[in-house]
C-alpha cells in the first residue's frame, strides 16, 4: 500500500489474473517500463475518462498514439505556449493514463514566449483564410485515404497482363503492405492537422473565460460558452441535411409514406427505388452522403460505434420523425438567425454591465480574438473525428474482409484486435504465406484475436485506479485544464480517492453546460441504436452526443454525458432547447443505471442519484477494490 499523499505508481498496480497478457496488445513504448521508472514515478498520471473511458481496443488506440505526438508538438514546438509542455501517455491494464508534463526551465519559457506572440497573433488576423486552407487540406487527405486501394483478395495468380509490352507490377501483396502503411501515414498526418489551431483555440477560450470571470465574478461556464459558441459550424451540417431531405420527401406523398413506415432502412430504399420520385429522392441523398453522412453514432473514437453511412437506420429514423413533424406543421430546422440574435442580445447585456472604459476595450479585444478562432473547436470535430475517422474505420474493414477471405481471421471486426505496429507483421505473415505457395501456415492470429477479446471483457469489469503517482505543483497545459478540468478541487477529489467505480457514488460532477435543475428517470444509452428505448421526459445518460443524436433533445428532460465540455454538441443543443445538462462527468453511463431516479443540476454541474432503480440510494458494494 503506497503512502496516503500519492496514488500507486504504475508499476505497483496489480491487474486481475483474467487480464494476463494485456501488455502484448499495446506497443512497448506506451507501457510503464523499468528503463524510464524515475521519470514515470516523477509524473502524475490520471485515467483519460474523457476519450478512453473503455478498455482500449488495440487498433482504435492509433488515434491516441497519433495525438500524443501531435497535441504535444503544437504546444512545445509550433505555437510554443511558454510554460506548457506536452501530454504523455501510458497504457495500464488496457486503460489509457495521461500526464501533463511540468513546465520547463525559465530560459526555455523565455525562448518560447518570443515565438508564441510572433506565431500566434497573425492567426487571429487571418483566421478565415487559414480555415479555408485547413479544410481544403483536410478534405484532400480524407480523399486520399478514401482512394487507397485495398486488395479484396490475394488471388491464386495475379491477373493476366500483356507480358509483351508491360513489365510485371509489384502485385497485390505489395499493394496490401503499402496500403496499410499509407493509411497509417494518413491518419497520423490527419491528427497533426487536427491540432493545427486547437491548442491556440483552447488557450484563447481559457483567456476569455478568465476575462469574463474577472468582470462578472459569479458567471457560469455555460454563460461564457454561450457568448463564444458558434451555431453555423460544420458539426451541425449533417442534421441540416436531414432536415432538407425530410422537406424534399414531404413534397412527395408516396416518398413520405415510405419514409414514415416502420420498416428498416434497407426495405425503405428498395421501395423507393420502385418509384420515379423515390429514385430522385435517393439520388439527392447519395449526393450529400459524402461528407454529411460520415458522422459517427458515438464520439468517433471507437470502431464499434458505427456511422450513419453504415447504420442507415439511424438517419432514416430521424427523417421519419422530421417528416412527421412537417405533417403536423412544425418547424424542424434550427433557426440560425434566432440563435445568433439571441447570442448578440446576451453579449450586449453583458457588455452593458462593464462600467469601466478600459475594461470595455479589453473585453472587446479578448472577445474578438476568441470568437474569431473558437469555431475551430467545433469545425475540426466534424472533419477529423467524424468524417476522417469514418473513412478510416471503413478502410480498416476492407483489410478485415481480406483477412477473413484469406482465412486468417474469423470476423472482419477482429482486425481491430491488433495494434497498428503489429498489423504490418500480420500483413507480412499473410503475404509471405501467399507468396510461398500452397498451404503455408500463418501464425494463429484468429486465436490471438479471440484471446484479446476475453482480456478486454475482463478489463471492462476491472476498476483501474483513477490516477497514478504524485500530484504535481503546477499545470500549464491548456488541454489538461480545459478538457480534463484539472483544478485544485479535481485533484483533491482524486487524492481523496474518488474513483469511478460503478455504483460506489451517488454524486457526479461535470460541466454546468445548460442551466436548470430537474429530476427524472434515467435512461442510459451506450449507442445510438438504443434511442428507440427512450421515453418522453427521460433523463438521457450517454457517452456523448453529436448531431446524429439531435432529434432526441426535444423529447428529453435533461442530458448527462461522460464526455464533452460546455461547448460540446450536447451542451449547445441543450441550451438551445432549454434542457438542463451536465457534460463531461466521465463515468455517468457506468455509474447511473437505467431506471435510477436522478437529479440533474445544470446550474452547478452536479448529477445526484436520488434513488437507485433497485430501491436504495446507498452505494452498492464496489465490484473490485484497487490499491489506495
Amino acid at each position: 500500500m503506497p503512502e496516503k499523499n500519492r496514488f500507486p505508481y504504475g508499476r505497483e498496480v496489480q491487474v486481475p489474473k483474467e487480464m494476463e497478457g494485456w501488455e502484448e496488445m499495446y506497443p512497448a513504448h506506451r507501457l510503464f517500463s523499468a528503463e524510464r521508472q524515475e521519470w514515470e514515478d516523477a509524473n502524475f498520471w490520471y485515467g483519460d475518462k474523457i476519450h478512453a473511458p473503455d478498455p482500449m481496443v488495440p487498433l482504435d488506440e492509433v488515434f491516441h498514439q497519433a495525438w500524443q505526438i501531435a497535441l504535444s508538438q503544437h504546444t512545445t514546438r509550433v505555437f510554443c505556449i511558454p510554460p506548457a509542455q506536452g501530454i504523455a501517455h501510458r497504457m495500464l491494464g488496457c486503460y489509457l493514463y495521461i500526464t501533463a508534463i511540468a513546465p520547463p526551465s525559465g530560459d526555455v519559457i523565455q525562448a518560447k514566449a518570443e515565438k508564441f506572440g510572433a506565431r500566434t497573433f497573425p492567426v487571429f488576423e487571418h483566421y478565415d483564410e487559414l480555415w479555408d486552407q485547413w479544410r481544403t487540406r483536410q478534405q484532400g487527405l480524407g480523399r486520399e485515404l478514401l482512394a487507397l486501394k485495398v486488395p479484396s483478395e490475394l488471388p491464386r495468380f495475379v491477373p493476366d497482363f500483356d507480358s509483351a509490352t508491360t513489365i510485371p507490377n509489384a502485385g497485390p501483396a505489395q499493394d496490401l503492405i503499402e496500403a496499410f502503411n499509407n493509411a497509417v501515414n494518413i491518419i497520423y498526418r490527419g491528427w497533426q492537422y487536427h491540432f493545427s489551431y486547437l491548442n491556440v483555440t483552447y488557450l484563447s477560450y481559457l483567456m476569455f473565460a478568465d476575462v469574463a470571470r474577472k468582470l462578472f465574478p459569479g458567471i457560469s461556464e455555460s454563460a461564457i460558452g454561450k457568448m463564444v459558441a458558434g451555431a453555423d459550424v460544420s458539426m451541425f451540417r449533417p442534421e441540416e441535411e436531414l432536415c432538407r431531405l425530410a422537406r424534399l420527401a414531404h413534397t412527395q406523398p408516396r416518398v413520405a409514406a415510405i419514409l414514415k413506415s416502420d420498416r428498416i432502412a434497407a426495405r425503405k430504399i428498395e421501395s423507393l427505388r420502385e418509384l420515379d420520385e423515390g429514385r430522385m429522392w435517393l439520388e439527392s441523398m447519395e449526393e450529400i452522403k459524402d461528407p454529411w453522412f460520415y458522422v459517427s453514432c458515438g464520439s468517433g473514437w471507437f470502431h464499434y460505434e458505427g456511422s450513419w453511412i453504415n447504420k442507415l437506420d439511424v438517419p432514416f429514423s430521424y427523417i421519419k420523425g422530421y417528416v412527421e413533424r412537417l405533417d403536423r406543421g412544425e418547424r424542424i430546422e434550427r433557426s440560425l438567425s434566432t440563435i445568433s440574435d439571441a447570442r448578440e442580445k446576451l453579449l450586449g447585456e453583458y457588455r452593458k454591465l462593464i462600467k469601466n472604459d478600459d475594461d470595455r476595450k479589453s473585453f472587446e479585444g479578448a472577445f474578438k480574438n476568441t470568437r474569431t478562432i473558437y469555431r475551430y473547436a467545433e469545425d475540426h470535430l466534424f472533419w477529423v473525428e467524424h468524417w476522417f475517422h469514418t473513412i478510416w474505420f471503413e478502410k480498416m474493414r476492407e483489410f478485415g474482409r481480406l483477412f477473413v477471405k484469406q482465412g486468417v481471421l474469423n470476423d472482419v471486426e477482429d482486425f481491430f484486435m491488433f495494434n497498428r505496429l503489429e498489423i504490418p507483421a500480420l500483413i507480412e505473415d499473410l503475404a509471405t504465406s501467399w507468396a510461398l505457395g500452397e498451404n503455408i501456415p500463418t501464425l494463429k492470429w484468429a486465436d490471438k484475436a479471440a484471446k484479446r477479446k476475453k482480456i478486454l471483457e475482463a478489463a471492462a469489469k476491472w476498476s483501474p485506479p483513477p490516477a497514478l503517482g504524485v500530484p504535481p505543483d503546477v499545470v500549464a497545459e491548456p488541454f489538461t485544464v480545459m478538457l480534463w478540468g484539472v483544478t485544485t478541487e479535481r485533484v483533491q477529489d482524486w487524492l481523496a480517492g474518488v474513483s469511478a467505480k460503478p455504483g460506489d457514488t451517488n454524486e457526479l460532477k461535470g460541466f454546468a453546460s445548460s442551466a436548470g435543475v430537474v429530476e427524472g428517470k434515467a435512461r442510459v444509452l451506450k449507442l445510438l441504436d438504443e434511442i428507440v428505448t427512450l421515453e418522453q421526459d427521460d433523463i438521457m445518460v450517454v457517452p456523448n452526443t453529436n448531431p446524429a443524436w439531435a432529434p432526441v433533445f426535444s423529447k428529453i428532460k435533461a442530458a448527462v454525458t461522460d464526455i464533452g465540455g460546455i461547448t460540446s454538441h450536447a451542451a449547445i443543443v441543450c441550451r438551445e432547447y432549454g434542457v438542463p445538462s451536465v457534460t463531461g462527468t466521465g463515468t455517468a453511463t457506468r455509474t447511473i443505471k437505467t431506471g435510477d431516479w436522478v437529479k440533474v443540476d445544470g446550474d452547478r454541474g452536479i448529477v445526484t442519484i436520488v434513488k437507485r432503480a433497485n430501491g436504495h440510494a446507498e452505494p452498492e458494494a464496489s465490484i473490485a477494490q484497487h490499491e489506495m
Partner: protein, 355 residues
C-alpha cells in the same frame, strides 16, 4: 396642492410632496411594475395638520432647546412633540380625502375595511447619499378609516423619535427640510417576502441579482430574525448560480387581535425553499426592469402573495437606489490590456495545484 394622491397620479418628480417611498411606488407603477395598490397622503396634509392645530411654532421651540448629546433631553423633546402631533385633530378636508381614497381602494379589492400597510415616506429618505432608512415607521394590517388616520398621524409623529432628532442634528440636516408623507397600501398577504439587490452586495458584481427571502412578511428578513434563503441569479442568462436554503425557524405573520407577530415555522417547512424557480426568475426579471428604469443598481423589497395565482402574486413593495457599490468608482479589473496582451498573459500562466 393635493392632500392625497393615488399611486397612479405620482412619479419620481413627486418626491417633495409624497416622499421617497411613495414617489418610487408611483414611478414603478408607471414603469409597469406590479406594486400593491394604494395612495399617498402628501406632505401638504402634514403642513395643514400642524398649521391648523397651531403646533408648528411649538415644535420648533422644543427642537431649538434640544441638547443632542443628552439622551434624556432627546427623549423628553421627542415625547412632547409626538404627543402634540398625535393629539392634533385631523382637518376635515384631509379626513375626507383619505376616506374617499380608502373607500375606493376597498371597492377595488372588494373587501370592506381592507387591511392596509401604513408607512411613512420621508422626503429625505432613500436619497442616494443619505440613508435615513429605518428612521420612520411602518404599520401593517391596519383596518378601517379610523385606524388608517391614527396610523398616519403616528407616522408623522415618528419623524420626531429621539433617534431621528439626534441623527438630523448630528448630520446638520435642518428638521424642517425633512417632511413626511404617508403611504397607504393594500396589504399583501405575504406567503414569502424578502429583499433583492441588482448586484452582488458582496463584491459589487453587476451581472448578478441576489435574492433573499423567507416565509411570511419581510420584517423577519429585514430585522435579521431569520437567516433567509439566498439565491444568486445571472442577470443576463437567468441561471441560478447559487441556492442556499436555510432553516427558517421564524416567520412574521398577521394574527387577528394580535397584529403582526413572530411565529415559529413548523419543522417540515423550515428547510423548504421559500419560492419556486418560476417565482425567482419572475423576481429577477422585475428587478432588471426596475434597474433599467432607474438606470442604476437598486435595492428592492418584494412579496409573494398567499392567494393570488402566478405571476399576479409577485409584488414589489419598495425599491431604492443601492448606496454602497454604486458610489465606488469602477476601477479597471483587466488592467487596460489588449486582446493579445491578455492572451500572452494567459499563455504564461501556470495553475498551482495543491501538493
Amino acid at each position: 396642492m393635493a392632500y392625497v394622491l393615488g399611486f397612479d397620479q405620482i412619479d419620481k418628480s413627486s418626491l417633495p410632496i409624497v416622499g421617497g417611498k411613495n414617489a418610487s411606488l408611483g414611478e414603478m407603477l408607471k414603469a409597469g411594475i406590479r406594486v400593491p395598490p394604494g395612495f399617498a397622503i402628501t406632505t401638504e396634509s402634514y403642513f395643514e395638520l400642524i398649521t391648523s392645530a397651531g403646533i408648528a411654532g411649538e415644535i420648533q421651540t422644543i427642537l431649538s432647546h434640544v441638547n443632542p448629546d443628552s439622551v434624556p433631553s432627546l427623549d423628553h423633546s421627542s415625547e412632547q412633540i409626538q404627543k402634540l402631533i398625535m393629539q392634533a385633530p385631523m382637518p376635515t378636508p384631509i379626513r375626507r380625502a383619505i376616506a374617499e381614497n380608502y373607500e375606493k381602494l376597498c371597492e377595488m379589492c372588494l373587501i370592506d375595511d381592507l387591511p392596509v400597510a401604513v408607512r411613512s415616506s420621508a422626503t429625505a429618505e432613500d436619497l442616494p447619499n443619505a440613508s435615513f432608512a429605518g428612521q420612520q415607521d411602518t404599520y401593517l394590517w391596519v383596518k378601517g378609516l379610523g385606524d388608517v388616520i391614527a396610523m398616519a398621524q403616528k407616522c408623522w409623529a415618528s419623524l420626531f423619535t429621539a433617534r431621528a432628532i439626534g441623527y438630523r442634528i448630528k448630520m446638520n440636516f435642518p428638521h424642517d427640510k425633512v417632511l413626511i408623507s404617508v403611504g397607504v397600501q393594500k396589504m399583501v398577504r405575504s406567503r414569502t417576502s424578502g429583499v433583492m439587490f441588482t448586484l452582488n452586495p458582496l463584491n459589487g458584481d453587476l451581472s448578478r441579482v441576489v435574492v433573499e427571502g423567507s416565509w411570511g412578511f419581510g420584517e423577519a428578513v429585514v430585522s435579521g430574525a431569520v437567516t433567509p434563503d439566498r439565491f444568486m441569479v445571472d442577470k443576463v442568462v437567468h441561471e441560478i448560480n447559487e441556492r442556499t436554503i436555510s432553516a427558517k425557524e421564524i416567520e412574521c405573520i398577521f394574527e387577528p387581535g394580535k397584529g403582526v407577530i413572530h411565529s415559529p415555522v413548523e419543522a417540515e417547512r423550515q428547510t423548504l425553499p421559500c419560492m419556486n424557480d418560476q417565482e425567482l426568475i419572475e423576481l429577477v426579471e422585475i428587478a432588471k426592469r426596475i434597474e433599467d428604469h432607474y438606470g442604476r443598481a437598486m435595492d428592492i423589497e418584494w412579496a409573494i402573495d398567499h392567494d393570488l395565482e402566478f405571476p399576479e402574486n409577485v409584488f414589489i413593495v419598495q425599491s431604492r437606489p443601492e448606496t454602497v457599490w454604486s458610489q465606488k468608482p469602477k476601477l479597471s479589473v483587466l488592467g487596460n490590456k489588449s486582446g493579445y496582451e491578455l492572451l500572452m498573459e494567459k499563455a504564461l500562466a501556470q495553475i498551482k495545484l495543491p501538493t
